[in-house]
Amino acid sequence: MSAQLAPQLVLGWHDWLGLFVHFLMLSLLSLGGAISTTADMQRYLVADKGWLSSAQFSESVALAQAAPGPNVLFVALMGWQVGMNSGSVAAAFGGMVTAMVGILLPSTIVTYQVAQWGHRNRELRAVRAFKAGMAPIVIGMLLATAWLLATAGAAGHSVPLYLLAGTSCLLIWRTRLHILWLLGAGALLGMFGIV
């Protein structure tokens, strides 16, 4: 259980500023969606800074998936958890706002300004080259995120957990089965200690 213990933090203003700036940067790098930067969030929040435990990190992603709404809300939960780890609900609200504004503000401004231009000029060679050149890298980023999510909860040795992730992937990719059924099945399997 020791790996699941939440870190006890004392965060100064420079830590919050660092978190904000890091998420501002990730926002601009989040091609393919905020989820594609999850690998880097894990590196920053868990491995480098130790602000979240590995379990808290994957919990944030799983809880956001289990609730309705855009996936990006997992970022709000991470900010919330960092604040809770530093000891207060006020800090948790602060962390949530810091992380969400950070991850949304730059991309929102860029999208608002550039999207109309890109829409009008979608036949331009530069626009087509950008789309084509980025596509394979976006896919690599998504697969890396999946890999890190699958291995974070498994602590490196859980074959049933890998099987569950692999099976879900195949079912979602190949069938029209609703994600809610799979999340429910995953929750039940975990609840009874099968994975």
């Binding site: 799983a62 709404g69 999208t111 789309k131 980023m141 957990l161 609840m191």
Partner: protein
């Protein structure tokens, strides 16, 4: 026969308020991602967009940095009502779901010590990993139509995957050089 002809009549949202309500409702239906619901609600039910317009807008929403569905909301809101529309659609998508997910997180804190709860989340996290991987695999079928030759595409994707998942390199070191290489290669393939 362009079905994205802008003169073709189709209904439009009445006000930014209507946009806010529509995006709130579709966000509440979307578990594990909202894209499928956006397509069903806005294209098939409300007919605010044609299928072709949706596909084009979705491609741009994916290229822009930021959450795809949020980007799509910003683009559509901006097209219909300018900045007010963009903010209405985006806040509709985020406001109520944010409160719900927070409630869920607080509820979860109270029950964290229970092994069943930890187990359930572990199982759901594995399913989430599968969902993300499946999204990547679904998108990868589009690589066959990419102007870059397929082996180059696979090479770039594998390189990005290996550096991020195994080397654990920061995204800031991986994305700009790989992205630039991909774009330059594509630019040259598209020329002449």
């Amino acid at each position: 026969m362009s079905s994205s002809d802008s003169t073709q009549p189709h209904p439009l949202p009445a006000s930014p308020g209507a946009l806010f309500v529509a995006f709130t409702l579709l966000a509440l239906q979307g578990f594990g991602g909202v894209l499928a619901v956006v397509q069903r609600e806005l294209v098939e039910r409300k007919r605010w967009l044609t299928q072709d317009e949706f596909v084009e807008d979705w491609a741009v929403a994916q290229i822009m940095p930021g959450p795809n569905v949020v980007n799509l909301a910003i683009m559509l809101g901006a097209r219909w009502f300018g900045l007010r529309g963009a903010l209405a659609a985006m806040s509709g998508l985020l406001a109520l779901p944010l409160l719900l997910v927070l409630a869920l997180a607080v509820l979860h804190t109270g029950f964290r010590e229970q092994p069943q709860v930890a187990g359930a989340l572990r199982g759901m996290a594995a399913v989430s990993a599968g969902l993300v991987a499946a999204t990547g695999l679904r998108l990868s079928t589009a690589l066959a139509r990419n102007p870059l030759p397929l082996p180059w595409c696979i090479g770039l994707a594998v390189l990005a995957f290996g550096l991020l998942a195994w080397v654990r390199a920061p995204l800031l070191w991986v994305l700009p050089p790989l992205g630039l290489s991909g774009c330059v290669l594509a630019w040259r393939r598209l020329g002449g």
